[in-house]
Structure formats: C-alpha cells, structure tokens
Amino acid sequence: MTDPAPRSLPRDTQLEMQRRMLRIRRFDERASKMVKRGQIPGTVHTSIGQEAQVVGACMALGDTDFMTGNHRSHGHPIGKGAPLGPLMAELVGKSGGVCQGKGGSLHLADFAVGSLGESGIVGGSIPIAVGAGLSSKVLANDRVSLAFFGDGAANQGCLYEGMNMAGVWKLPVIFLCENNQYALSTPAHTVTSGVIADRGSGFGMPGVRVENGQDVLAVHEAVSAAVQRARAGDGPSLVEVITYRYNEHSEGLRLGVDYRNAQEKAQWLARDPIVLFREDLIRRGVAAAEELDALEADVLREVDDAVAFSDQSPYPELSVAFDDLYSDSRFAVHRFRDSSFGTLEAVR
C-alpha cells in the first residue's frame, strides 16, 4: 500500500483537498441526522469514507471540466467546488435548492461548477458524460468529462457502449469507478466477472486500479494522468478506485442481514482518508495541527451556514411543479393548461 504519489502539489491545493473532504464528511453527517429527524424527506446516500476517492478525482479536473454522478451524490458537486447552501436546501426541498427543490438528493446538479447531474438510475449518467466529451471534441474547447459510477454500475451495458464510443472517437472522457465493494447488499465479487479495471484494454484504453483509494493523492495522481491523456487528444481512460462506505447503503435503511462483517469494517475505519491525510499533511510539514483544526472548525461553520441557508429558504410554490418541463412555456404539454388537469370547462 505504499504509494509513489507526488506529495509536491502546491500547499493550497493540498489544503483545499482536505477542506473539500471535510466538507463532504460534515455535510453528509449532517444530512444523515436530518434524514433521521425527518427534516430531509426521502433518503440520502452518503459518501462518508469515500472522500479521498471523490476529491482526488474532482480536483484533478479544472473548473470548467464536466462531471456526472449517481445516487451517492453529494460528494461529487462538493468535490467539484459547489457551495453548500443550495445543495442542502435541495436536500430539504426548498426553493433555494440548487435544483429549486425539484431534484432532491438523488438528482443534484450544479452546472456552474460543471456538475451536469447526478442520476438516480444506476449507470444512467455515463452516456451523458460521453456526450459532454463529444461536445468538447466537436467544439474543440479542451474540456474533459468525468463519469463517476459504482462497482454495481460497472455491470450496466451502457458503460461499455460509452467506453467504446469514447475510445474510437478519442473523446476526453474519464470513466471513474468508485469501487466501494458493495452494491447495496451485494458484494461486488459475487456479481462481477473479472476485474473492472481490466475491462479497459479490450476497449482500447488504459485501465488503472488505484488500490489505495483512501489516499487522496494516489487518486489525484491516477486521475491527473487520465486528464492529461484526455487533453492531449489521446482519448478516454478507465480508473477504478478501491474504497469503502462507512454507512449503510442509504440513511435509514435497515436490513435484516448484515452483509459486511465487523472486522472488515474496522479495518477500513482505521484507514480513514481524512485522518490519514491530516497526518500526512502534518508529517510532511505542509500544515500545522492548529491550522488544520481551524480548517475543520471552518467547515463545520460552512455546514451550519448551509443549514441556515436552507432554513430561511421557503418551500416552492405549487405552480413551480409546472415550470421547466419544457423550455418554451411554463406548461406546454398541451396548449390547454387544463387538459392535464380536468375538463375544459375549468378554464373556459
């Protein structure tokens, strides 16, 4: 597990990595609590434990690069730099939410930071990322596109269609598999034939496996190489990162069976990505403990502020339900607003 990652990134970058990992951790911890208290409707899927994998990948991208994600959704936009307030308001269903309350946890998106949308459909956003890579290529604007997906999603056919298309057209796309070793209750090895990273070569691209996915710099290095390759016009890469989620698949889910054993969990908890990186930063003299403590306090405040932002944001008006289905009118399925509601007499 020793890793030759270049510990020579600018100090600010390294601190920003730690900050974003902390943001994800604290945001998700808070969201988890709010679900249990009934303050967030539905459920959420936390990225707690996977922060290094998320942030290492996101920070290998530039601000204008694109990204798509999945149901384990909060980490991705946070990792890409999205402000927390509108994300939290979205989880609660407020009008100040980044999607005006229409998306919720499963469908976060923040186009301002290149986040083109998380998908509640496992695998569903992979083709979208390929398309973003296609437009970069056609418009020659140098933007890279990264698709996050899980070990479970790695068995969706659209991934291989996407890898093939991106490969043959040399699109600037990175297929990033967040292998947290389980898909809901299902251990990856029981449903995966072969090794996910090994699937790259058959599609003409490098397939890299980051065994130490709890090391943010290791992830960053692997993804940076893929970004470089993409920007050079050499096409896509497949990067598989081994990681672990600490919480249950989703908050509030109670299964009669525990499909993960305690020892395994303990081993992973002992390799916490945020703790590891904190120690690393101190050991290498990048930052002092006090500085990191301050950063942590700062992030806690950011999350408090996000909740406050959400609190003061009103719920959307019911009429908002009829906005933004189409571009050209509030509700244009039929030319009669009412024809999706009742009989014509209602408005005539």
């Binding site: 499963l106 509640g120 695998g123 969706q156 009669g256 019911l318 009829f322 289905l325 009989t343």
Partner: protein, 369 residues
Amino acid sequence: MTVMSYLGAIGAAQKEAMLADERVVIIGEDVEANVYGTTGGAGKSRASEGDFLQQFGRNRIRNTPISEEVIVGAAIGAAMTGLRPIVDLSYSSFLYMAMDQFVNQAAKNRYMFGGQASVPVVFRSAMFYGLNTGAHHSDRPYPMFMNVPGLKIVTPAFPSDAKGLLRTAVDTDDPVLVFEACVLWGSKEEVDEREYRIPFGVGRSVRTGTDATVIAVSGAVPEAVAAADALAPEGISVEVFDPRTLVPLDVEGILDAAARTGRVVVADPAHRTCGAAAEISALISEHVFDALRGPVRRVTTPDVQIPFSPALEKQLYPNRVAIADAVRASLGVAAPTTGRDGDDSTGPDGSGGTPPSGQDAAVATGAAR
C-alpha cells in the same frame, strides 16, 4: 384467513409458487438479502426461519448484477427453455433499461416464431411514487406497456388480489408485468393462506353505487373508496370498480359499471396522455355512448415529471379530494362548503417551516368542475 400486508401477500405467493414448482426461480438485484421485502421469512431477514435463500438455495434464488437488460433478457431466454422465472426489478423506473427486451423479445417471440416459443415469466416492480424520491424513482409506466401487444399487465390494489393474481401470473405461459404501487404496501386485509388464483381479465367491484361510477387503477383504488366514503354523507352513491388487470382488460365489467350510472370518472395514477385512463375513457365512449349522461372524466397525474419537494409532489397524484370533485362535477353539484375532507397528506416536520400540506384540489389535482 390471516391478516396479510400487501408485501406479505406477495411474499406468500412467491413462496407458494417456489414450493409448488421446481422450475420457478427468483431473479433480481438484492433478492438474497431480501432488501425489497418479498423474499424473506416472517421476520423479513435472512437469518429468520422461512428465508428464501436458506429454503431454496442459490441455484433458485439468483442475486444478480445491476444489468436490467440482461436480467430481463435472460429471464425470457430461461422461460423459453424450461424455467418459470419471477423477476424482481425493484422499482418500475428501472424497466426502461430493458425496454428492448420487453418489447422486442418478451412480447414478440411467441407470435413471431409462430407459436414455437412459450415465455412464462413474471416481472414484478414497485411504483415508488409519493415518497419524495424524485423523478428517477417515481414512475408509473404501465401505460406504455399496454401499448405493446403480447404482454399481460397486472395492477393489484389489495393484498388478496396481489396474492391470487401473482399465482395466476406464474401459471401463465405469457410474459406478465406486475406493477405494485408502494402506496399500497402498508394496506392489510384478511387473506386466505391456502393456495388460490384470481383470473386475469376479471375486475373487482370494490363498492356498489347508483349515482356515479369510478373506475380506479392501482394506487387510486383506496383513494376512490375514500372519495366514495366522503360523498356518501352528501347523498351521492358511488360505484368503485377496479379492473385489477389492465391487459387483458375486463371491458365488459367496465362497461357495465359505467352504463349503470352513466356518470363516469376514471382515476389513474399514471401520466395523463395516452394513459390507462385515456384507453378506458375511449372504450366507454365507444361502446356505451348512449348510456352516458356526461363526459367521462379523467383524474390522473398531470403531464409533468415528478418533483422532489414535499411541497410539490403529493398533490400531483389523483387523490380522494380530486376524485370526489370530479364525481360532483359529473353530477353537476357543488362541493359542500364545510372544510375539505380526506386530506391525509403529511408534510415532514422540516426546518424552515412546514411544507404546504393541503391538497388544493382545484389547482393541483385536476378535478373537473
């Protein structure tokens, strides 16, 4: 008779079918761990007695990769070669992933191969609407499958129907899609614990009445009953008819129920355009036009996708208020001015104020007036 929940009845039917026929297998994501609650024992956990995995083993309980297209296709292929799979597709919103296999293989193979193929396979999925999970989990897609000849489509609204119809589905030599509305999961009923079947194409008269008829589908059935309850004190007697299977459809039963009162409301949680309500409305107009005393009214989910916010979602589905309003409209009577009945939508006790929880039927649910 035993009191069973909707999910419990489904689990019971699955177990009966597994015990009755070695060729029955269960295929789906997370079926081993009983994540979706129909492959467990009484205690709903793997450890508990009666657990499917323990009882039937991995050869017949097939925990799959997340690969809906090949799950569905392989189930079809297995059905064509000797098995009788029950496929658990968890949520209905994931069916699109396998649409080609449904339409081009499941529905067409017997026909296009001149009767050589038999495709005895059941596809179960839950319509997970009304739970604030947003547009990717809230679909009610049965109408698009109704447009595909060769599929059978089942929408049980009661635990006893869920059990009896599922047994019939497993017996059927054709592909059957069972849509289970999660809003019904909690409902309970006395159910015969012995084996029984309910035939396809025979609707259920849920309630008799003389003034108006509500044809209600799936999750709209209890709402229609509640609307009928609410209207009774106003002196309005409402018949509620649940077709139970949409393909084959109990056209005769629907027409009789419609013609009896001549005033018809169709309540259907699917999107409006080309939905089940459109078909039922068209059939009624076609066949018993002269018996109608006014237009057939549809109460459906409007043609928007499903928003996440609790302030937005629930009001969109056909509910008791909207159905009652539509019935009153069909009779040309006004709603009583004393406060609205049947408002049971509850908003989460969130920070920053409670989301608007009332069901403003006039704006939100499409009641005709």
